[in-house]
Subunit: 198 residues, 2 copies
Amino acid sequence: MDFLNYPQPLADLISSLARLPGIGPKTAGRLAFYLLQQPQISQDLAQAILTANHSLKKCSICSNFTDQDPCALCQNPQRDSTELCVVEHPRDVVSLEKTKEFKGRYHVLHGVLSPMEGIGPEQLTINLLLKRLKGVQEVVMALNPTVEGEATALYLARLLKPLGIKVTRIAHGLPVGGDLEYADEVTIARALEGRRQL
Amino acid sequence: MDFLNYPQPLADLISSLARLPGIGPKTAGRLAFYLLQQPQISQDLAQAILTANHSLKKCSICSNFTDQDPCALCQNPQRDSTELCVVEHPRDVVSLEKTKEFKGRYHVLHGVLSPMEGIGPEQLTINLLLKRLKGVQEVVMALNPTVEGEATALYLARLLKPLGIKVTRIAHGLPVGGDLEYADEVTIARALEGRRQL
């Protein structure tokens, strides 16, 4: 898209918006005009971005985003410190918390191993994970079932098992409400593999 | 979506993003986490929003967004002042300019008449339009072919025709590359209505 016809500040705003994931130049243009027509919403948004960037840090224990250190979850004495759930993104913590099924603590890797993108163990929070294993009996890998997620789970399992820690992985199979007809073979194979007695 | 599990600044950022058009709570969450992980992009975006809101005003002649008043188009002596093209949004000016077909000047209404939404002639820039008609010979209505767009074009035509100004409307019909089979009846009827001799 050609921004030449726009005044400079508008062209800058459009190109800033177009750098966000999933937002192409057309959507960016639409959003930019909307922001110009809604000064209050724009001010609030700019302020929210600056505040979030300024006040949110990574928790020094679990690396989740937090406005207090350690984060509310790490400080909560009600949570079971013998169970640790390893996730890729901070948003995965929210997804898991919504189920109200897991009572342990979390560890956020901020990514998965991906040699293609130059992400090795040093780029993730694996060192921090190894430092907080005292008293931990089980580590649950809640990583996405992608090639990188699987590789990361196996890598971590190999580090943790020699320390006498039970390493588990969340189940992969048909989603609830899903249909065998439309599921891919790998998912069906995993569902078969993980079958349990009724 | 439940933001209770998020730290406050993050919840604020997500709800600010979710107020943008076409961005639901899920996308807002994804964008918010992206912004947290990319401090430079966030800073640039916040700055671009503030700068655009601060430096872009409506041109006092044509009401288009501009960083100088009058805007570059209104100041350009090369443009034909006898032709005026009326559009709904500033982005329509860009779409029309890309065709390089129109050599006249523009007038941005910033909306169309819509009694349902409480938008009457006073909410649009119709007063400014009536003030700049000196020397204008033709007014081209380049409004969208919606009920409101049509009503606005007819309303303006009724105001302008008694002043001896030629009022035209851009053609509606099959889009280039379109297919009769997939066009709706109203479009085909308009295409027939607007037929020309070969």
